[in-house]
C-alpha cells in the first residue's frame, strides 16, 4: 500500500503552499527559527503499552495526568456520558481464558484514521508525523467522526468552558480527543500520560526510527493493535492483551 503521493498529502501540501502564497502576497514573512521547524513526515510518533506490567494505579495516574495537562473532566453541567474523556481505563476479560486485563484507551492515532476520512471540513486531520488532531477552527460539530471512530476516543464539548489551558484551546460545540500532547512532543518532551508512568510499561517514540527504543522493543516482543482487523495501522500498540 505504498503510494508515492496520496490524495490527502496532496491536499495538505497544496493547501500549505496556497496558504503561504496568499499571505506572502500581502507582505514579507519572517523566517521561522530553525529549531522550531514543522512536523516531519520522516517521523511517526507511537506508543507501546505493556499491560502485563502496567498497574491499574498507573493507568489512573495516566488519566489524571491527561486531565491536568489539558483541563478536561471538570465540566460543571455535563453528565458522566456527556463529559469529555480523552483517555480512560478499560478492563476486559477474555471469554475463554478468563484472564482480566486493564488498559488505558485513547485515540490510537491511526495511519488510516476513519475520523479523518469522514470529516466533511478537513477539521479531523493527521499531521505528517502521524498525530491525529481536530482542527477546532474548522470543526462544525457534526459528530460524524465520533460515529466513525472504532475506539470511542472522541468527545463532544457539551457546554461552555472557561479557564482553558494556554496550550489547549477547547470550546463548546466542537469535538476533541487525545492530541498525543503535540505541544510537548514538538518541544522534545514526552506526552503527559507517558511521563506519569515511572516504569517502562509505556514507551513513547518514533516508529520510523529503527534505533528508537519503541522500534527495538516492538521488534522483540509480541504486540497487538486494537481492532487490527480494520487495518487502520494504529500508532498506539499494546502488549499483553
Amino acid at each position: 500500500m505504498t503510494k508515492a503521493l496520496n490524495r490527502r498529502d496532496f491536499i495538505q501540501n497544496t493547501s500549505a503552499i496556497l496558504g503561504v502564497a496568499s499571505v506572502a502576497s500581502g507582505f514579507t514573512l519572517t523566517t521561522f527559527a530553525a529549531d522550531k521547524g514543522p512536523a516531519s513526515g520522516g517521523k511517526r510518533w507511537g506508543m507501546l503499552i505493556n499491560t502485563n506490567i502496567l498497574s491499574e494505579a498507573e493507568i489512573d495516574s495516566m488519566v489524571s495526568a491527561c486531565k491536568k495537562e489539558h483541563g478536561w473532566g471538570f465540566e460543571e453541567h455535563s453528565t458522566g456520558s456527556q463529559k469529555p474523556s480523552w483517555i480512560k481505563k478499560v478492563k476486559v476479560q477474555d471469554r475463554a481464558t478468563k484472564k482480566i486485563t486493564s488498559l488505558p484507551l485513547m485515540c490510537q492515532h491511526c495511519e488510516e484514521p476513519p475520523c479523518v476520512d469522514v470529516c466533511p471540513t478537513n477539521a479531523s486531520m493527521k499531521r505528517l508525523d502521524g498525530v491525529v488532531l481536530v482542527d477546532r477552527h474548522l470543526c462544525i460539530g457534526c459528530r460524524f467522526c465520533m460515529m466513525a471512530c472504532p475506539y470511542d476516543a472522541r468527545s463532544f464539548v457539551h457546554e461552555d468552558l472557561s479557564n482553558q489551558k494556554e496550550h489547549m484551546p477547547r470550546g463548546k460545540g466542537t469535538v476533541e480527543s487525545c492530541t498525543l500532547c503535540v505541544h510537548k512532543i514538538d518541544n522534545g518532551e514526552q506526552p503527559a500520560c507517558v511521563a506519569s508512568v515511572k516504569t517502562d510499561a509505556v514507551i513513547f517514540g518514533d516508529l520510523k526510527d529503527k534505533n528508537s527504543i519503541i522500534s527495538k522493543t516492538l521488534r522483540k516482543i509480541q504486540s497487538t493493535q486494537i481492532r487490527a482487523d480494520l487495518n487502520l495501522n494504529t500508532g498506539v500498540r499494546y502488549s499483553g492483551i
Partner: protein
C-alpha cells in the same frame, strides 16, 4: 382533443380562515423550534439527551427521515416525465415542490443541531472529498438546483419539451443522493448495526414509501381544503403504489436483519435490536413493522377499506410514523449498542453496555419544527404559484379510465 391541454393549474385561494389558521399553527411550531434551538445552542448540548455515546439524537432522526422522504416525493414527477405515464403528469409540479420542501425542512434540522451552526460557511467552503458527508452537502445543494430547473421546465410551456431530460437527471441525482444518505451509515465499519452495503438500497426503497406517503397526504389535504375535484382513478393508483413500496421496505428490512443474523459476530446486535432492546425492539416490531407496515398494507388492499380516502390517508400517516420509528431504531438503536472493540473479550468496565438515551423536549420540538418548515413552504408556494391542477377528476386525470 389533446388531453394535456385539459389540465389547468391554479393557485390556491388562501384567503379563508382555514388557510390562516393553518399558517398560524405551522408558524407557532416553527417559532417553538427556533426557541428550542436557541436553548440548546446557548447552553450547549448538555441540555439534550445526547452524549458522547449517542452523538446523533432525535433531531437527526427527523432530519434523515425528511431528507429520505424528500427524495422519494419526487417519484410521482419521475414516473410522469421519465417513464411517460401520462396520468401522473398533472401531479408533477406538486411532486417537485413537496420534494424540495421536505429537503429544506430536513436540512434545517441538520444544520441547527450542529455544535457550531454559526460555522455553516465552513461546511460550504471546506470540502474533504473523501467524506460522504461532504458529498452529501454537494448532493443536497445540487438537488435544489436540479429540481428547481425541473420545475421551471414544467412551468414554462416553451421549456416543456426538456422536462423529460431534466427529469431523468433529477431521477438519477436523487438515487445517488439517497445512496449517499444511506452510505453515511452503511460505511461506518466500526459499528455492528451499520456496516452493511444494503443500507444504501434500503434507504432508496424507504424514500419511495415515506415520500409517497407525504405526497398522498398533502394531495388529499389540499384538494379537500380547497374543495377541488380529486378522482378515484388517481388516488387508487397512488394507493396501490404505496402498498407496493411498503412491502418492498419490509422485504429489505428482512434481508438486512437476516443477513446480519447469518454472520455470527453480529448476532449480539441483532438480538439487541430485535428482542432484548426494550424500547428499540418494541419500536421495531410494534411501530415500524406492524403499525407502519402490515396495517397500512391491510388498509390499502383489504376489500373492505380499499379505495377509501380516509383509510388511504390513515395508511399514509401510519407509514410516516412507522418510518420515523424505523430511522429512530437505525440511528439511536445502532449507537446504543456498544462497539465490538475487543472481539472474544467481555468489557468489564470503562466502556460498553447499552447507552441510555432519553430525547429532550427541545430535540423533539426541533424535529417537529423541521416538518412544519416543509409544510409551510408547500402552503405558501401553492398559494402564490400555480402548482395544483384545478381539477383532478377522473376525466382530467385519465380520460380512458372507464374505457
Amino acid at each position: 382533443m389533446n388531453k394535456i391541454s385539459k389540465v389547468r393549474y391554479q393557485q390556491v385561494d388562501g384567503s379563508g380562515t382555514g388557510f390562516y389558521v393553518l399558517v398560524a399553527l405551522l408558524s407557532v411550531l416553527i417559532v417553538v423550534a427556533l426557541g428550542a434551538v436557541y436553548f440548546m445552542e446557548h447552553n450547549g448540548h448538555y441540555v439534550t439527551g445526547m452524549s458522547n455515546r449517542i452523538v446523533w439524537g432525535t433531531p437527526h432522526v427527523f432530519a434523515i427521515f425528511l431528507i429520505v422522504a424528500a427524495s422519494g416525493a419526487l417519484n410521482v414527477a419521475s414516473i410522469s416525465s421519465v417513464f411517460q405515464k401520462k396520468m401522473y403528469k398533472p401531479l408533477s409540479r406538486l411532486s417537485g415542490l413537496v420534494s424540495l420542501a421536505l429537503l429544506a425542512g430536513g436540512l434545517m434540522i441538520l444544520v441547527l443541531d450542529l455544535g457550531r451552526p454559526d460555522r455553516l460557511i465552513v461546511a460550504m467552503t471546506e470540502y474533504n472529498f473523501k467524506s460522504i458527508f461532504a458529498w452529501n452537502i454537494i448532493l443536497y445543494n445540487g438537488f435544489f438546483v436540479i429540481v428547481g430547473v425541473y420545475l421551471w421546465m414544467m412551468f414554462e410551456r416553451r421549456m416543456n419539451k426538456f422536462s423529460s431530460k431534466v427529469g431523468l437527471l433529477a431521477l438519477t441525482w436523487r438515487l445517488i443522493l439517497t445512496t449517499g444518505t444511506g452510505s453515511i451509515f452503511g460505511f461506518l465499519v466500526s459499528r455492528q448495526a451499520y456496516d452493511a452495503v444494503i443500507m444504501a438500497p434500503m434507504f432508496i426503497i424507504m424514500s419511495f414509501a415515506f415520500g409517497l406517503a407525504f405526497f398522498i397526504l398533502i394531495l388529499l389535504a389540499s384538494y379537500k381544503w380547497t374543495e377541488r375535484d380529486l378522482g378515484d382513478a388517481i388516488m387508487n393508483r397512488l394507493g396501490n403504489l404505496l402498498g407496493v413500496f411498503i412491502a418492498a421496505v419490509i422485504y429489505f428490512v428482512a434481508i438486512y436483519h437476516l443477513g446480519n443474523l447469518y454472520i455470527t459476530e453480529n448476532t449480539g446486535v441483532e438480538d439487541f435490536l430485535l428482542f432484548d432492546g426494550e424500547i428499540y425492539s418494541q419500536l421495531f416490531w410494534y411501530v415500524q413493522i406492524i403499525l407502519g407496515g402490515l396495517v397500512p398494507i391491510a388498509l390499502i388492499y383489504s376489500p373492505v377499506t380499499r379505495g377509501n380516502r380516509m383509510t388511504l390517508g390513515l395508511a399514509s400517516v401510519l407509514v410516516i410514523i412507522g418510518g420515523i420509528a424505523q430511522i429512530y431504531v437505525i440511528i439511536i438503536g445502532g449507537q446504543a449498542y456498544p462497539m465490538e472493540m475487543f472481539p472474544g473479550m467481555d468489557i468489564i468496565s470503562g466502556y460498553g453496555g447499552i447507552a441510555s438515551y432519553i430525547p429532550s423536549i427541545a430535540e423533539i420540538f426541533l424535529g417537529v419544527g423541521g416538518i412544519a418548515v416543509a409544510l409551510i413552504t408547500i402552503v405558501f408556494f401553492v398559494k402564490f404559484l400555480p402548482f395544483l391542477p384545478e381539477s383532478l377528476s377522473d376525466e382530467v386525470a385519465d380520460p380512458h379510465h372507464n374505457r
